[in-house]
Amino acid sequence: MTVGAGGGSIASVDASGRLRVGPQSAGADPGPAAYGRGGKDATLTDAHVVIGSLGADTSLAGRMHLDLDASRDAVGGIADKLGMDVEEAGEGIVAVAMANVVRALRRVSVERGIDPRGYSLVAFGGAGPLHAGRLLRELRLNRVVVPRHPGLFSAAGLVAADLRIDDSQTVLRTFDPDRVDDLVAWYRDAAARMLRPLREDGIPRARARLMGAADCRYVGQGFELTVPLRGLGVRDVRGLAERFHVLHERTYGHANRAEPVELVTLRLSGFGTLPAPSPAPLRRGASKPSRTALVGERSLLLPRARRRRLVPVLDRETLLAGNRIEGPAIVEEMDSTTLILPGQRAKVDALGNLWIQEVK
């Protein structure tokens, strides 16, 4: 599922006076009005420029400078139609775009049987971290993590990913806790089969991790839930039906313990932890970021605020492990901008990841 909520998404007001954002996009060329390449439509990026989360001192990708006046003109057109001032309209465009993202994230999560609350969101790409704090709040997520160099995250992931081998076996039979010997045997054999190629790839047993799971459903249902196993022993496999009922209840709000459970697929994943091309750990700093990390202040309109507020801007490259940043704050780096909202706190971990959480 793709959501039309990128930096180029165009805001418009329809015949009945409703504010829409996307799915039409200005793309990269002409791109947002702020790019100064002749784009006239108000885009999500322009809205951020108007409310100040992207500033004149922000340089996109290290070199492109933003045309504030062009953004204000573009967003001003929307503001006139809505009878709002230009900053209210800018904040409105960002909020509506976020509502679209939230709606899509909810839908894809529930379709997969997952409640997004309690999960952590990884925010990356150029614009992801700009919206991280808002999504944390709207989706009531546990945490948001912004990796270092969010703009390069996908490429870095390809280089750094651990080895993983998946094996599965279709069984399609009613689950019977007294008939699990062959299931346990499959997990045992699959584990042995999996350890061999891992060993050949240089993964000793100590660095290999095995995770078993089984796709289950009630007899007659058309979709399965993947039930993770605690271990691969007889007792673990016997407990499968109960774990399925619990998961079904949690996912759909109902379970039926009297109903037979159908076992559809057995799954085993083997992970080989590779010596990660680990970024040099950050030097440890105090909980308060050093004075040199504070590179400026920016006046911006925060979500649901009435007027602008001066917010500190920190340089990501200067942050140290253990630093805590109380929102509101902006963290800037060459390839991205992270916005931490009031009431949220970011912590820098030993590898330089930013973990954002609500302060309870």
């Binding site: 015949a15 709002m84 909810r106 007659g220 709000g253 039926n256």
Partner: protein
Amino acid sequence: MRGTPSGRLDPVTFELIHAALLSAAEEMGAVMKRSTYSPIIREMDDFSCAIFAANGDLVAQADYIPAQLGAMSLVVKSTLARWRNAMRPGDVFIANHPYMGCMHTPDINILMPVFLNGRLFAWTGTTAHHVDVGGVNPGTEGAHLRQLYAEGLVLPPVRLSRSGHEDPDIVAVITNNVRDPLSTMSDLRAQRAACDLGRRRLEEAVERFGPHAVRRAFAQALDHVEAAARAALRHLPDGEAEAEGFMDDDGLGGPPTRIHARLRKHADRLSVDLSGSAPQVAGALNVPWASTRAVVVYLLRAMTDPSMTTNDGILRLVDIVCPLGSVLNPAPPAAVSVRHNTCQRLAEVLVRAASAIWPEKAVASGTVTFVGVNLDSISPKTGRPSVMGDVVGGGTGAHRDGDGLDGVDTYMSNVGLVPVEVGEAEYSVRIRRTELIPGSQGLGTYEGGLGIRREYEILGFPQTLTIYAEQTDPRFAPCGVLGGGDGSPTRLRIFDPEGRELEIPTKTTLTLAPGSVVRVETSGGGGYGNPARRDPLSRQADAEDGRVLLSSGSSSRNTGTRRAGAGASRTRASRAGRESNPQPSDP
């Protein structure tokens, strides 16, 4: 919360609340799709989920099947009429009564009132097509049924749960009246779970925005849809048109049933006069009011802005005239289970009338309804009785931008075929072929979509087949428009185990021995514009894709020459400032 002086929400707050409501309805749909048992719900999407204001107005609906567009609000209103002073938090209502706002007995509604500080605040609701709710026929539906009492268990709005506890008495009534109680109850509980998720999401919205703002957003959502639809209508020229079309019979093999509509558009209002349609019929082709209304909503959306949110605001600009006792507004206890066929014909007639007023928007006719195939069997998997309900779509009509679609469920319906794998795994049937029928399309500058040929072989033991179709009468096949040709008619054929063909009417229920084969061939869509003007590249592609029958090149059947037989579909139109007859081939 910021509001404008008029007490309206500011546009941004409105959008945020509105997105939360739509999101709630969509999440309800995702839960339904994942946790129901019946293939008709989980694979074929024959269900809807929605949020309603306290008074029952539909505010937000997740779109899965247009046949249920806006229909549920009438059920909420019936429930209110009966229970207004006796509801408590945790109550959940169940209803399928076609004369109390529902559409036909298989579409069961589950409704949950949402309370705030002890006062009714809103409703969440789902409706889903259950394959069987008892009655004379496996699969409940049957065109030959004569009274509602033959159409299975009829539930006026009653409580499935009281104060959060499922009522074992009503559950016992249900499980003793349907053929596959386990799957029915499981699906009903999945519907209830979806309603409960919707309730939680509504409560979260209230927590965040406040009850006043959410209530305002309910009202504003309706106002916005009304305003958008009015603006779109104002942009269309005023005009008037009538069109008629026919059902093959009255459900019992009797004479064709006339469906007639007169549309009149003036400024930003539309009036739809259906009083020229036939009186209610003896068979089960009658259309309960909720369904007739849904067809009109479908037309309005198609004419104005199909991307519009579905809610009751759109009904504010239309007057529907239809006397009680009409096939489109029957009096109880007329049978209604196969009302879908009639709805599809009404949709076709309305679209044809609209095409006559606005030729610039003209669309050729599509297959008027899927062929419904219900087979009663014992599930090879569970050993329990189960009913396969399949629907076989056809071709849609061509339009100004291109060819019609092949093999889809047209107009108000958006239901998929039972996947072969699912059909064969869950039922005692072999699906011998599923293919498009070359040459079934109406020709034209743009061609209609192709019909589908599907064959079912009965396995294992004798099974009861209920099958119903329209357009087996060639006079009623899908019409072309603006010089385009007609699609081919629908054809049903049944062969006994020795391969001998049985004579069957257009709608029937009969028992078939194992080895029997049912062959369904649905009609293709009508063509658009003069076939001589079809672009040569498309012609070449048609040939390469095997869409044309080489031998039929000289046939006049679907080349744009309208047969002028008695009862063939007719259309007449007039438009403000000029008289026009946009269908050159009209008699």
